[in-house]
């Protein structure tokens, strides 16, 4: 590495190392991972671009404050195991976050290099080391403290909390409603963006640390909070996710072949409907697929539709591309794969064909008006501008509401008027001092990293509360 007077001199000339992507035309035909990740050579070159800032804004931009300059320095030193240890001090799931975090709004969004050229590819570097878990040191485990904690839900928040608690010496059991672990990481995020094997590796790692997983177990129905406490659990962490799909509230929404994104994605991601009839769960392979929404879930759904053989796969959004909440990389990938973006439309009605399934959707064309409370220009209907888009599959991906299961768990915790659990922002503790909660069931739909951060904070608070540390 170039050094002047013993100090590291960053490479200020090279452009950002481009992502190592599969060709769009090929990858859009199957579910292979789109991004192959950096090779060692690419990672080393990219690590040279980091300026090792004295005041690293990237760390501030990271929701869990990973020491980014340090782990990049360790990459430069080819100390990949050390780099991974550095990340793991703050984040349990680098291989996952490296793939799915919206880095452009977080660490990379704050990177000084981004001001004049392009930011350092921090996410790719994180993933590069995250994918070599065998190099990391075994996590230091505190001796067993004799306390038991139940974690409800095995999504990013639940497994982060479980891992932290296990390290702190707790006896941890994770209760999961599905037959496999990972929550939204396995039913929601497609294989081409986050391979299931990566999630499984993390779950296996937790099992090695002594975390127990109880699958097919819907807490609230199979046991209430009180029953879990009676069974000897000392605390509960609830991370059940946001749950219920939000409706578009337009006529025809319940027609066959109109899906909520969760169903569309679960059929393929969790139940392997793309391999029907080898696997038993079918799905619909639409020729013309319209997805309503502009977030990452909408991108996942439309790209899945493309892979299931759609000739025309459309993202229909009521604002414009600039306002889409999806990660830029996802939008870019979708477009490269042939997804069509239809901005400024809002659904009015789904129309049934002769066979009773959806054959078209009537949309209202919009234009951007005055800014609304979010600061974005509000879409307003253009009078009389109504269009009919033919479609044989339509998908609603406009978000989620709270799942009523949270209220069935019991205990003395309180919910807000939308059904989300009220929890202290810093500690995750609910109004029942024995119960903590975090992730989407507290915040509403958010990101993997925020859910993880909540799990980590709760684990610290549970540790403090139960051990008096």
């Amino acid at each position: 590495m170039p050094q002047v007077n013993g100090r590291f001199v960053p490479d200020m000339k090279s452009p950002r190392t481009p992502d190592n992507e599969e060709p769009a035309a090929e990858r859009a035909c199957d579910f292979r991972p789109v991004d192959k990740g950096f090779t060692e050579e690419m990672a080393l070159a990219e690590a040279e671009r980091c300026m090792d800032c004295k005041k690293p804004f990237c760390v501030e931009g990271c929701p869990v404050n990973i020491n980014i300059p340090k782990f990049i320095e360790q990459i430069r030193e080819k100390n990949y195991g050390g780099a991974l240890d550095t990340i793991r001090e703050e984040s349990m799931l680098p291989a996952i976050c490296g793939r799915v975090c919206p880095q452009e709004n977080q660490c990379e969004g704050k990177c000084i290099r981004g001001k004049k050229s392009e930011p350092v590819a921090i996410g790719q570097l994180e993933r590069f080391v995250g994918d070599q878990p065998e190099l990391a040191s075994k996590p230091a485990m505190k001796p067993k403290n004799g306390k038991k904690v139940a974690v409800v839900g095995s999504g990013p928040s639940g497994i982060t909390c479980a891992g932290e608690l296990a390290r702190n010496g707790f006896d941890v059991t994770v209760f999961e409603a599905f037959f496999t672990g990972g929550g939204v990481l396995v039913y929601g995020i497609p294989e081409f963006r986050l391979p299931k094997a990566v999630v499984k590796r993390e779950i296996d790692g937790l099992e090695e640390m002594g975390v127990k997983f109880e699958y097919n177990s819907v807490v609230g129905n199979i046991a209430t909070a009180e029953e879990l406490f009676d069974e000897g659990f000392d605390a509960l962490y609830i991370a059940t996710g946001a749950g219920l799909p939000k409706f578009l509230n337009v006529p025809g929404e319940n027609l066959p072949n109109v899906f909520f994104a969760n169903e569309y994605l679960t059929r393929v991601n969790l139940m392997k409907a793309n391999k029907f009839p080898e696997y038993d769960t079918p799905t619909k392979h639409g020729k013309n697929v319209v997805v309503f929404g502009g977030g990452n879930v909408a991108m996942d759904a439309v790209r899945t539709a493309k892979r299931l053989g759609a000739e025309r796969a459309i993202i229909a959004y009521r604002r414009t591309e600039d306002e889409m909440p999806a990660r830029r990389a996802e939008l870019h990938h979708a477009k490269a794969e042939g997804v069509e973006v239809m901005p400024l439309v809002s659904p009015l009605e789904f129309i049934a064909g002769e066979d009773g399934t959806v054959c078209a959707v009537k949309v209202q064309k919009m234009e951007l008006g005055e800014p609304d409370e979010s600061g974005r220009r509000r879409p307003v209907p253009i009078e009389g501008a109504i269009e009919e888009i033919p479609c044989d599959v339509a998908i609603s991906a406009i978000g989620t509401n709270a799942n009523p299961f949270a209220s069935k768990i019991g205990g003395k915790m309180e919910l807000n008027k939308w059904g989300y659990i009220i929890a202290d922002e810093e500690t995750g503790q609910t109004t029942d001092p024995r119960i903590w909660a975090g992730g989407d069931i507290v915040t509403g739909a958010a990101t993997v990293i925020l859910a993880m951060g909540a799990g980590k904070k709760a684990a610290a608070s549970i540790t403090k509360s139960l051990l008096g540390e």
């Binding site: 409603a177 749950g243 319940n254 066959p256 899906f259 009839p277 769960t281 799942n403 009523p404």
Partner: protein, 280 residues
């Protein structure tokens, strides 16, 4: 894995499994259901709880062979294990005080039975109306007869091979006419539920239906099981499966139930040809 403790065959195509599931047995209530995935490549299928025993730690469900999954399940024997069983899910059946008619049509009788039993145990007078296409498809007659005397059992078959010929609405109408019941519970095929509802409505008698749309997750997450009730979209898995039958959009339910007919045929064919992944 969930061990099958006992397999009972009621007729050529109708079976009952008793499955080891202590935690579920402890929390089971009439009207709730299980999600079953037979093996690694299986789909998740809802089955209503037909019985349970908290002390012995088992739950039961009844199924009729109609497609790939049920065809495959019918080959499982006691001692075999199901890959995944989740439950109890859904809201338990609740009925106000007063005499009830409990209508079960076809395999719906498997759901009607625990409901009738629950209602009797909670002090209701119950008339069971049992409907089937033909005698061989009439389920659980002996079990119903253990619960109820002859005057409280009304059997109809479409072909007249047993009981009175016709459909369940005929005995229902008589019970409503004579004011023998003040409320109705029904479960079965959509046309049966729809016409039972129209009959009850004629007499202004409240009627509850247990709905059976296709489900994927069964916990409110996916929205596959949505039904239109009183002009609003509801999820059968978390808001139901019981709903005020007079408010249900039956055409909507029927269309959604039929959404995968073609695929169901393909799946069964692949199983019969041995080309699916799951030959246990």
């Amino acid at each position: 894995m969930y061990k099958i403790l006992e397999k009972t065959q009621f007729s050529e195509k109708v079976f009952k499994f008793r499955v080891e599931a202590p935690a579920m047995a402890k929390h089971a209530h009439a009207g709730q259901f299980l999600m079953v995935r037979a093996n690694e490549c299986g789909e998740r299928v809802p089955f209503t709880l037909a019985g349970w025993n908290a002390d012995e730690g088992w739950v039961e469900f009844i199924f009729m062979v109609i497609g790939k999954t049920t065809e495959m399940l019918s080959a499982y024997e006691a001692g075999d294990a199901l890959r995944d069983v989740t439950g109890p899910l859904g809201v338990p059946t609740e009925m106000p005080d007063g005499p009830c008619a409990v209508i079960g049509g076809g395999v719906g009788l498997a759901i009607a039975f625990p409901v009738a039993k629950h209602l009797i145990e909670t002090g209701h007078e119950v008339h069971a109306i049992m409907g089937a296409r033909t005698k061989d498809l009439l389920l659980l007659e002996d079990q119903f007869r253990e619960l109820l005397d002859d005057e409280h059992i009304h059997i109809t078959t479409d072909d007249g091979s047993y009981g009175e010929q016709g459909v369940v609405t005929a005995p229902l109408e008589r019970l409503l006419e004579s004011k023998a019941v003040t409320q109705v519970f029904c479960v079965g095929p959509v046309p049966m539920m729809k016409f039972s509802t129209l009959t009850a409505e004629k007499y202004g008698t409240p009627i509850t239906a247990s709905l059976n749309p296709i489900m994927v997750d069964g916990t409110g997450m996916c929205g596959c099981c949505r039904v239109e009730v009183d002009g609003k979209t509801k999820f059968a898995c978390v808001d139901g499966p019981d709903f005020d039958a007079t408010k249900v959009d039956w055409d909507d339910l029927r269309a959604r139930q039929a959404a995968y007919r073609t695929e169901e045929g393909q799946s069964l064919k692949a199983y019969e040809e041995g080309s699916c992944a799951c030959h246990k």
